[in-house]
Symmetry: C2
Amino acid sequence: MEIETITIGTVLKRLRLSMKFSQEELAARSSLDRTYISMLERNIKQPTITTVFLLANALNMKPSEFVQQLEEEFDGHTIKRTTI
Amino acid sequence: MEIETITIGTVLKRLRLSMKFSQEELAARSSLDRTYISMLERNIKQPTITTVFLLANALNMKPSEFVQQLEEEFDGHTIKRTTI
DNA sequence: ATGTAGACTAAAGTCGACC
DNA sequence: GGGTCGACTTTAGTCTACA
């Protein structure tokens, strides 16, 4: 099975809720826009590495821990960019 | 001390050389453009999370391991986007 | 084998408004 | 509190070409 891009929506939402943050709170803590957080959770956008660091910090975890959770989501899948 | 963005240049170049890959080889293995790899190594561009996954795969390592090396680079620093 | 530059397109990320 | 839309600016990422 192949996937097109790394989507962080499910992981991000789960982690945000586990911290009992609203999207607004997470946006404030990460210096990102609330509507953009919403888009990430709905897999409409994919973040840059800097954004991942900002989000992980806002969620009080290491970026590598955050990415580790993404890995599990895509374990066994082939990553493939849409435009290739 | 503050930094503006997560730059992966040093880490990427070190890992690439440790695998004895040329930029061309890494570009082919990751389905990315050679000139773009060059820009990443010179910290002119920052990758998306999907690109990080592609690069990590090309380097035969887990994305979280790759990110872990980035963390060490920025340990103790405050991440701050330029546009904030 | 790498740096750089220019032109290009897709997509990241912001912001205001409304439901 | 969160989804969505539209308009916008900036940047990711491709490609050709030359040193």
